[in-house]
């Protein structure tokens, strides 16, 4: 095996687990995860000559994986994309208070609640728009900085921050709803069940 191949494999090995997780979650159809992994690694290998030694390989390879995810999802004939939600009925004050109360109850022990809602985390992720999902995954799994995410997705910093903020808000709301539905939170400030 050549030195170049050894170097590439060693760099990939260091990001193996997060890259596998990214490929698992970045596709809209679960069956496409392995296709994405193969496309991302193959493209990274073909373009390895462009990688500048000493720079951030993790950001470089996640950028390629994010671009390949777009291609794989475009080719896929899976479920329709989640779209921006139309403005619905604004929650009234009582609903807002209950949601905030439930959220604060979730925050009292977030590790336990999320551990019991692992399936719902994936469901919540599936409700994000493509940009929200990409930005969240690159931040949460790829551990990329805002600038690196913007670079990966050809997106200005302001958009990165906007998508990430919306993605986090939606994830928190969906997990709070799921926690309430599962009875993990739900004591309202008014004392009703």
């Amino acid at each position: 095996m050549s030195d170049l191949c050894d170097e590439f494999r060693a760099l990939c090995e260091a990001v193996r687990r997060p890259l596998l997780a990214f490929c698992r979650h970045a596709v809209w159809r679960a069956d496409d995860a392995e296709d994405l992994l193969q496309s991302a690694l193959l493209t990274a290998w073909r373009r390895f000559g462009e990688f500048r030694p000493g720079t951030n390989f993790r950001a470089w390879v996640f950028r390629i994986a994010a671009l390949e995810a777009r291609n794989v999802n475009r080719r896929s004939r899976g479920a329709p994309l989640p779209e921006e939600e139309p403005p619905g009925r604004a929650p009234d004050v009582v609903e807002m208070l209950e949601r905030e109360w439930d959220y604060e109850a979730l925050l009292a022990d977030p590790e336990t609640v999320v551990a019991r809602l692992s399936g719902e985390v994936r469901v919540a992720l599936g409700t994000l728009t493509p940009n929200e999902r990409s930005v969240l995954l690159l931040r949460a799994i790829g551990d990329l900085a805002y600038r690196e995410i913007g670079d990966a997705l050809s997106m200005p910093l302001g958009s990165v921050m906007g998508f990430l903020s919306r993605a986090r808000r939606k994830m928190r709301e969906r997990l709070t709803e799921a926690a309430r539905a599962r009875g993990l939170v739900g004591e309202s400030p008014r004392g009703s069940p």
Partner: protein, 250 residues
């Protein structure tokens, strides 16, 4: 700082993305407000728990990894001097001069433009088709301090589209240009890009103000454009790129 103002900054605090002024103000608030301090801690734990749940590679992931690695083709080149690839290039009369050029790895902007060019060839960029005067106005309205584009490209070069791309958070005025059938990528940068691309700036500020190198088998040329910087890359001769640069350097 009020509690709602502090809470609006908590996500960016978790991401290490606050500027020093915000960080100091938020730090002062958290030091004085136990409620917001508790909220910051709890939201940090929640985000870590969500990231942990998303970071599970899933069943059979290791087998998929091994299959993907096993399918990578054998290496075609190494970081050592490229003897085999060079042999094909020796057909051209100017090849000896071309091969003497430094490698793009030494120049930051060449690597960035190469990535843009890859996106262009893979049809991953969205560009606006407009005459060069309109492209100039549009790009200069979006990137502060961007040098003007020339009123026209040299004969034989056709502007296919323009847009703004970002590399390391730095906006780059990007032009897709055709030279016959060969697509070229052209980057135009304002003086403020000096911090992002120090190597390219150092090269073009040397005598001559024009710098050539090879980048993954393509020609790359960087040059001064007014008080900014421009660069071009493509599967054409260095002389072609120099002709294109001439439009800025008149």
């Amino acid at each position: 700082m009020t509690c709602p103002e502090a809470r609006a900054l908590l996500d960016r605090l978790l991401d290490g993305a606050l500027d020093p002024v915000e960080e100091r103000a938020l730090g002062d608030h958290l030091a004085a407000c136990a409620t917001c301090r508790g909220r910051a801690d709890a939201e940090g734990r929640l985000e870590a728990a969500i990231a942990g749940a998303l970071s599970e590679p899933g069943p059979d992931a290791d087998a998929a990894w091994e299959r993907a690695m096993a399918r990578l083709p054998a290496p075609r080149r190494s970081r050592a001097p490229v003897v085999a690839a060079a042999a094909g290039l020796l057909l051209a009369g100017a090849a000896a001069l071309w091969l003497a050029l430094p490698r793009h790895r030494e120049v930051d902007l060449a690597a960035a433009l190469l990535a843009c060019h890859g996106d262009l060839l893979a049809n991953r960029v969205t560009l606006t088709e407009a005459p060069i005067g309109e492209a100039c106005r549009s790009l200069r309205s979006r990137i502060e301090g961007l040098p003007k584009l020339p009123p026209a490209l040299p004969e034989g070069f056709i502007l296919a589209g323009s847009g703004v791309c970002y590399r390391d958070g730095t906006p780059i005025g990007y032009l897709a240009v055709h030279r016959g059938a060969a697509p070229l990528s052209v980057a135009v940068l304002p003086p403020a890009s000096r911090a992002a691309f120090p190597e390219a700036w150092a090269r073009v500020e040397s005598p001559g103000g024009l710098f050539h190198c090879r980048a993954s088998g393509l020609s790359f040329c960087a040059f001064r454009a007014d008080d900014g910087l421009a660069a071009a890359l493509g599967d054409v001769s260095p002389a072609d790129l120099e002709a294109l640069a001439g439009a800025w350097r008149r």
